[in-house]
Symmetry: C2
Subunit: 566 residues, 2 copies
């Protein structure tokens, strides 16, 4: 869009309201259009939007394309902005609204009225300048802004996951991100690190303690517990909430991210575990086409670690919660540091046993080292899960060190690791059968996972599989004159009603400019309406791929869009 | 899904771990399946999920359908729950995982191992019971839970609006709901009531003051200002954020709601105002089919009120901000209260002038009462807008009392009122040209609106126009035996890959039960896999609408779904 600056000589930006000076930065180009002629007190300066000073100079030498675009406002190149210029633009706005319309009115009669406002505006500005610096344009730390190109990718990924999950018969639920703080402080839901150090918790104006949800599972348990009587189990439920954690922002760890939550509620059998793990894996392979070799699903069962503690350690661990939290962090530190920590938490011999256990590469290896674990129910369950996952083509591996951070897990747990490229955990989940009991409801068996958008996007990007959004225009309607602005809108509306994605230019343009704009926007059709078209009650319709052009009646032309010329 | 309770006699719920008593509430039904026979220490009690005690009795008399469904867990009717029962279920869970699999193992060897855990579990429970009451299942005050049926409506409305807005060439942007508190406290962005009394503002763990956005416009201005150099104006941007206000929750006013924000940035001409108002109106008429008579768009321009103040009042209002805020609340109080407030804010005669002005029913009436306003630019603009809106079929009306709550508006403002049924403001918007200057960027002209989901839904519901979501299953895969659970999952996966919405039952069922389940879920196809099918490498495929049934090869049966039998 080409824009132009319109400054009344009497209000140029040097603050001398009645002096003859012109703004030093505006490109001087006297305008001799009808309005200019009628309003003798005006000079017109044209300049171009958002261009570098060099381009700006180049454009000045070209033929002025703004003669018709008189109705618009200039944006000087921002590197040139200064207080005066900004105010000049604001002044111009008001003058613009006063004068720049088809009915010309004597400027002098308006200016007297505007001057009061201009003075007030200037006073406001200076008091603002005293009271505050310009605000920062940066977002809050650790969160993201989504410009349309970012949002396009976000939505394209979302649409793929959503449509794939819905093919599995999962239904969407949702809730507010504001939850009572007690929900995360309750014993069984507690992940100590998260509840104590990482939540956004505050007191509202009514004295209620509120937390921005750090995860969706307690909310899901709350919803299920509230309607435990009337819901028909098993439920397959999914959600795509944003969740919040106060962490030091770093690569792949933000303070807010969105997270796919898929859960099966009400089925205690391992068939539900198998379905959830297969869904997790198939989001990568089937919804996005990730190769099976690009990741592995590491699976374990918390009961195996419990059984090891009972069968092979000399005494029960003094602090099992801290021990498990330490094991959970194993991948995040080097071996020496991990061993030191383990020896703080366990007697020396027990720490050695535990190390051996955690380093086993497969379930068979674990069982050959610790044969008494073979009859443990957790192992039986894992073996059954393995059979199912193998049949379903999930790339599966046993990982004894996998415990997952949340204390509420009660059964099989899993994590999806990227093995090519990223080499990091992408997401995980597991079984948590007791959580609804927190609300005094029957303990509903549950298994699920949470898949974050940041890590998913990073994984897909590393594999070159990130989908792109491709929304482009179908039709651009070009008003050739000021008189056709509303008519152009009307034609765009007709096109939309016929199902097309259509835009009407907000300022008049020449056919050439219109075609240029349409090509930039990816539109296939351009519709011109000028005086000729308006008088004849027609439109001129141009098909860009074939460069064919025809006239069509004002009513019903939009039906020609369906049948494109060959 | 029929579920069944499996309790080891040695662990019945009366806390005597080795006593012979059975849980008094479980329906006694000895199970004589293969596992029961192998594990002599077990009794099996079957009972039904979520049924009333009466139904429960009826089911007991019927043939036990759970013989095969041995792998599942019972939920007693919640009216019967008590502490013991809940614990019994938790105990049963663990025992379930120990025993209830195709390979039977001697229960005694397992129980010794489990007993430690059971004791710990009981201790944890009692310490929990001491430390805390069950948590409430209620959401935080003034926000909504979305169960799948609510979410379905929410998404159906969202999809209609989104697809219609995108036909107008608007692109989506987004941002975090966490914003620096300064953004809302800055002078020009300030709506005093909202910033002082209604924001959720708190200090994060790093000492930053954070606000949950009460509206999207300051965020939009921040995004546009940050890239004022590189963005290509005019922009047509939309977003669908949730926004937060600490208010007393009441009908149609919640503490969190979602809001469609549509804005055109970079075009100062009235053509942008016309496009935005037409879009607002056409969301109702074209995206949802609301009759043109069901609402009206009330339009005004702030400059008219300013001009009235300059031309007809005896002196400038001492406190224009408070005056405008008072006028903004006019519809929310009775006439006497409004007049009293006006007389506090203006001299007596001026208050009378203002009252007369605010009560004018049309622009013509206003101009006949206050002829000196006729040459004011705002009136010219409104007249031009009126011409455009009439051509575009928008039900338009001038309303002198319309100022809108936010101080940042600078030009035409509008509000959409429901006139049939609800008789209330649905949403509104206007022009705000200076907002980006807050960030030290050039003042980018902007016009837009915010449409809340709660009021939109109420409006549509009153007209009977609320869209419904209709996601139903295509295929239900029924495993006839425990051995086919994973195979059923595999067939469901094949169906999904062929584009169908498919679910496999998580527990085995008879053909009759499977068909019942499929009919409830709205599936058109049922696929059975039992021992016969597995051995022959086929599936049995039933088309429910025609009640026809056929066998098909295990590989490739899913391609039969496309061609339904006539």
């Amino acid at each position: 869009m080409v824009l132009c600056l319109l400054l009344p000589r009497a209000l140029s930006a040097n603050e001398n309201e009645h002096g003859p000076q012109q703004h030093p930065r505006a490109c001087k180009r006297k305008h001799s259009g009808p309005e200019g002629a009628r309003n003798r007190s005006f000079s017109v300066f044209s300049c171009c939007e958002n261009r570098s000073p060099r381009e700006h100079q180049r454009r000045k030498r070209e033929r002025c394309p703004w003669r018709r675009a008189f109705r618009s406002i200039c944006f000087p190149h921002p590197s040139e902005r200064d207080e005066d210029y900004a105010r000049a633009l604001q002044i111009k706005h008001r003058v613009y609204h006063t004068t720049c319309h088809s009915r010309a009115i004597p400027i002098s009669s308006v200016l007297s009225r505007e001057c009061v406002t201009l003075k007030t505006m200037r006073e406001n500005e200076s008091s603002n300048a005293r009271s505050s610096q310009p605000l920062s344009v940066a977002p809050y730390r650790g969160v993201r802004d989504f410009y349309p190109e970012d949002m396009g990718v976000f939505r394209a990924v979302e649409a793929r996951v959503r449509s794939w999950i819905e093919r599995w018969g999962f239904e969407e639920y949702g809730a507010s991100l504001l939850e009572p703080a007690e929900l995360y402080e309750a014993k069984a839901a507690e992940n100590e690190e998260i509840a104590r150090e990482q939540t956004y918790t505050f007191t509202d104006r009514g004295g209620r303690r509120v937390t921005l949800r750090p995860e969706m599972t307690p909310t899901l348990a709350r919803l299920a517990a509230a309607r435990a009587k009337s819901l028909r189990f098993p439920l397959r439920w999914y959600s795509f909430p944003n969740v919040f954690r106060y962490e030091r922002p770093q690569e792949g760890r933000l303070r807010e991210h969105w997270q796919w939550n898929c859960d099966i509620l009400g089925e205690p059998g391992v068939s539900a575990d198998i379905e959830i793990i297969t869904l997790a894996s198939s989001i990568l392979t089937d919804a996005f086409g990730a190769p099976r070799e690009s990741f592995e699903v590491r699976v374990s069962h918390r009961g195996i670690l419990t059984a090891l503690e009972g069968e092979y350690l000399s005494e029960p661990p003094p602090n099992p919660t801290r021990l498990w939290a330490w094991i959970d962090r194993k991948e995040k530190m080097d071996a020496a540091q991990f061993t030191r920590g383990l020896r703080d938490l366990l007697p020396f011999d027990d720490a050695k046993v535990m190390e051996t256990f955690l380093e086993a590469g497969s379930l068979d290896e674990t069982l050959s080292l610790f044969p008494r674990l073979a009859s443990v129910s957790a192992v039986e369950l894992l073996q059954e899960a393995q059979e199912g996952l193998t049949l379903l083509g999930v790339p599966w591996r046993f990982d004894a060190s996998l415990v997952r951070g949340f204390n509420y897990y009660t059964g099989i747990v899993f994590e999806v690791f990227a093995v090519s490229g990223l080499r990091r955990s992408i997401f995980g989940g597991g079984r948590y059968d007791g959580l609804t009991a927190l609300f005094g409801a029957p303990p509903i068996p549950a298994v699920g996972f949470g898949l974050g958008d940041v890590t998913l996007t990073a994984f897909l990007k590393a594999l070159g599989l990130l989908p792109q959004s491709a929304l482009s225009l179908d039709v651009l309607v070009v008003p050739l004159g000021v008189r056709q602005l509303a008519l152009a809108q009307k034609h765009a509306l007709s096109a939309r009603k016929a199902g097309a994605r259509a835009v009407a230019l907000l300022a008049p343009a020449s056919p050439k400019e219109g075609v240029g704009e349409a090509l930039r926007a990816g539109a296939r059709w351009v519709v011109f309406v000028g005086d000729h078209e308006e008088a004849q009650r027609i439109v001129t319709l141009k098909h860009l791929p074939t460069r064919t052009q025809r006239e069509a009646p004002e009513e019903g032309w939009e039906h020609l869009l369906a049948g494109e010329p060959a």
